[in-house]
Assembly symmetry: C2
Homo-oligomer: 527 residues x 2
């Protein structure tokens, strides 16, 4: 209750401060940039805002920058009628944005330079905002930041930009800022996945971890093994191979990598619908049959097909929650274990390591859930990134062992845990107890996980937002600029939640637990 | 529980029947058309589907038909990659849709002819579907029906249309098929309102009842009284006058009328934020001051401004839940009552009737909530439509008195009642106990109400859908074609819910109460 009362006070203060010039006294950006300086001048933003790329080394052959600029203009307008007059206002008019990208290369991959500098001068004729970035993906982040500087003026019916001149220098604290979606427990239609990708860009998340398949359904077409998607829930709850290509390209054009996962040897029951020999037996269907070479042929086929679509440096091979009892209760497999001198845990390790080798043969680095590390960390390929989920304190052990780590401890960063609060999402620090800079560098970042048992197209967005945004600031903003007390960012996050709503994203109120309905009538800013 | 078990069985049967050719044995349309005949031929739908208007009397100067056609093509694709080959499939290719509209007039208003005939032949070269309609708005409904005949073929990566030839003759049972939204209890951003309008067209709802303002906030700019929107929740939770024009035009181009409401004399506290003299006193702020001519000047100003935006035949003047105690506890008003020989209920009647006259002077017919009828039905202007909400059995009384009626009985058709089930929405019959055809004609239709106390941009869509769709079929489909038992349409409604999800609408599962999360992993079709 004390915490709830503090939140209420913060939100009341936020709402009280709202007015046409409220922007002047504060920085309303989410996530907070590394460095911000501002002035006190109000600009009008031209209705016909120009994009200039003079001086850029980037040719934009795929239209990444041009399309991002158009999207930015659209979200700034928030679907308001922009039809006021520029005459007689006395404010300088911002004519355009000049974007200088130094690198001609627009291949998106892990660790790409996402830094940018955004300057909005208060004088000049014509007056242009300036974006400088090493890559187009840094420029995309700059455009998002720019969009958050703009406000609709309800009296003038124009877009205004307060507090110019602005100078913003920015770069992410972590390269890995992920969100997991799960299309096995419930199918997510393609437009829904795309809208999730769009919403990620608003808080600068950059990795969509696509947990494609699990025990319950296998929705993706795999050309090498065309019966695998017989494990889909229904005829229409599927993705063609070309749909996956389209999703990846859609994400890449927005600076979002797609990390594909197959979760083996557990969490793979649905594979056997099309190929029953992948099951230990007709009555014991999980984990995948470790004794059958066909199992690894299928994995090889999937990862070979993946390598044509998913160009991200990493592939996720799962490896969590493996109950090996089917291997010992199935006589054929039990014999195989004895013949190879393996017990169940040997076989689990054998499966994971053999699968790792296959993935590496297709050019991937590997991510595995933490049980693989907890059970045989010293045997994992050194290219392995260990994906924490069971609890806190794991990252320390992983980096001490010299492996890389991603943090998703379920008590704080599982979005399906509706009792995990946004404050908990905000305060969850991936580098807790890790002080050695070399070890710190092994923590690639973190990921919030939207597991799909109770999530479908109807409720995914308000279960993700605004809590994922709280984690996004933790992952983006320099640690010294992060709030020591989540309550002190509550009002700014509430405003960002309202902005998401204005952009059509069904972000839930801050108050209450995950995806709570508003408890009473009131301003978006106070809920 | 018995009902839940029946639903489960129906949904299991639905899921079991799903396959690429499942469409052949059933009519998967929502709402069910008046008349449907079909064959057994599968067509391929051209990737470059043409719109022909040869023979049409309608020039489409505003692009209503052209844009609707483009939207139809987009929703049919469901964002799948459509890139298969048409060669060697042996199926005829549907080259386009020919639309013949008889009336050149595209003014949308109450009672406009919405009927259409849709034929999809199985032979012809070039092969064209045929739409005939009196108005472009009938043609829009035909395009929606056509879109529901199309399926994505996951193997061929093309759009297919099963069961040709089709002949569908269709028209609505009721002219008034409404959905209420409430932007006073929570502000709804413009893109959210537009997405609600889009989703309405999928089940052929045709009236958006915009409950703009209430006690809690006054979000709309009123040029005649520019301080009224000082009663908004915050600077940004507002609509400019031009935003309202834009929303109305957006709706009209989709065949959706916008019914504007001011709810007087109660439910108007927020008006006084800008003009405190509208309050009886600073300590007793509702209902509006009946004794002050300024009150009626403001109402006149609002309705005058409304008449420039809201071209619908009707305006809604509220009139419900009026607690008149402030009128007798405020000495000034009490004196006025005595002076005019009125008691409280006289004054309530006086207020409503005077407001009706103002609305009529601006060319409107009037809708009032049922309390006005219940208290002084014989005094209401004969142009009044009585809007039922308190319970069932009201429509009978209204039409017996010779007035028109809209049905929204809260126990069945209030969407904010989360315990109101989709079965209840489906089975709620507006003509219950009304047998005289002349009296039946006085029932204009019905409306489902999405009151906003616990609804904002985060949860509106899944609280509306799929329950509003259940009512939409009740309001559209001839009574003899409606199911006698809601359970028998459960599987078809589940498929329509999945279709909404595929189109990006966050429609909730059928199972459970309003906007329940899915209870467990599973196919969309079974939930």
């Amino acid at each position: 209750m004390a915490s709830a009362a503090r939140l209420l006070l913060a939100l009341l203060a936020a709402a009280a401060a709202v007015g046409p010039c409220a922007g002047a006294g504060r920085v309303d950006l989410w996530p907070m940039p590394a460095s911000v300086a501002r002035g006190a001048q109000t600009l009008l933003v031209s209705r016909d805002l120009k994009l200039s790329t003079a001086g850029s080394n980037y040719s934009d052959g795929r239209g990444i920058l041009r399309e991002a600029f158009q999207r930015m203009v659209a979200v700034v307008e928030l679907d308001h009628a922009i039809n006021g007059s520029y005459n007689g206002r006395g404010s300088p008019v911002l004519a355009g944005v000049r974007v200088v990208v130094r690198s001609p290369n627009d291949e998106l991959n892990f660790g790409v330079d996402e830094s940018y500098k955004l300057s909005v001068p208060a004088t000049g004729n014509p007056l242009y905002a300036q974006i400088e970035a090493q890559t187009v993906f840094g420029a995309l982040h700059a455009l998002e930041t720019f969009s958050q500087l703009c406000n609709f003026d309800f009296n003038a019916r124009l877009i205004e930009l307060h507090s110019a001149p602005w100078t913003i220098m920015d770069m992410p604290r972590f390269h890995y800022r992920g969100l997991l979606i799960d299309t096995s427990r419930h199918y997510l239609p393609v437009p829904v996945i795309k809208s999730v990708i769009d919403s990620m860009t608003f808080s600068k998340l950059n990795i969509l971890h696509w947990h494609i398949v699990d025990e319950q359904s296998f929705p993706l077409q795999i050309p090498s093994y065309p019966k695998l998607w017989n494990g889909a829930y229904s005829y229409s709850e599927r993705y063609t191979f070309d749909d996956a290509i389209d999703i990846v390209q859609y994400a890449e054009k927005r600076g979002v990598n797609v990390l594909a996962e197959i979760d083996v040897p557990g969490h793979a029951l649905s594979w056997g619908v099309g190929y029953p020999s992948l099951w230990p037996s007709a009555i014991c269907k999980e984990p995948l049959d470790v004794s059958n070479d066909f199992t690894f042929q299928v994995i090889n086929g999937i990862l070979s097909d993946f390598s044509k679509i998913f160009k991200f440096k990493f592939v996720h091979l799962g490896g969590d929650e493996v109950n090996t009892s089917c291997w010992t209760t199935t006589p054929r497999i039990k014999s195989w274990l004895i013949q190879h001198g393996m017990n169940e845990s040997d076989a689990y390790r054998y499966f994971v390591l053999r699968t790792q080798k296959i993935a590496i043969s297709h050019g991937y680095d590997i991510i595995n859930w933490e049980e693989t590390f907890n059970n045989f960390g010293d045997k994992l390929d050194r290219k392995t990134v260990v994906h924490n989920w069971l609890g806190s304190g794991v990252a320390e052990k992983v980096v001490t062992a010299g492996l890389r780590c991603i943090v998703s401890n379920q008590d704080k960063w599982y979005l399906d845990h509706l009792d995990a609060t946004w404050e908990g999402f905000y305060m969850n620090e991936p580098l807790t107890n890790i002080h050695n800079p070399e070890q710190q560098r092994l923590v690639l970042g973190g990921e919030v996980c939207m597991w799909g048992e109770h999530i479908d197209a109807s409720d995914i967005q308000q279960t993700i937002w605004p809590r994922a945004a709280a984690a996004a600031e933790r992952l983006w903003t320099p640690i010294e600029k992060l709030a020591k007390d989540a309550g002190s960012v509550a009002a700014r996050l509430a405003r960002f939640r309202c902005l998401l709503n204005q952009r059509g994203v069904a972000a839930a109120p801050l108050a209450g637990y995950g995806r709570s309905a508003p408890s009473e009538p009131g301003s978006c800013l106070r809920q």
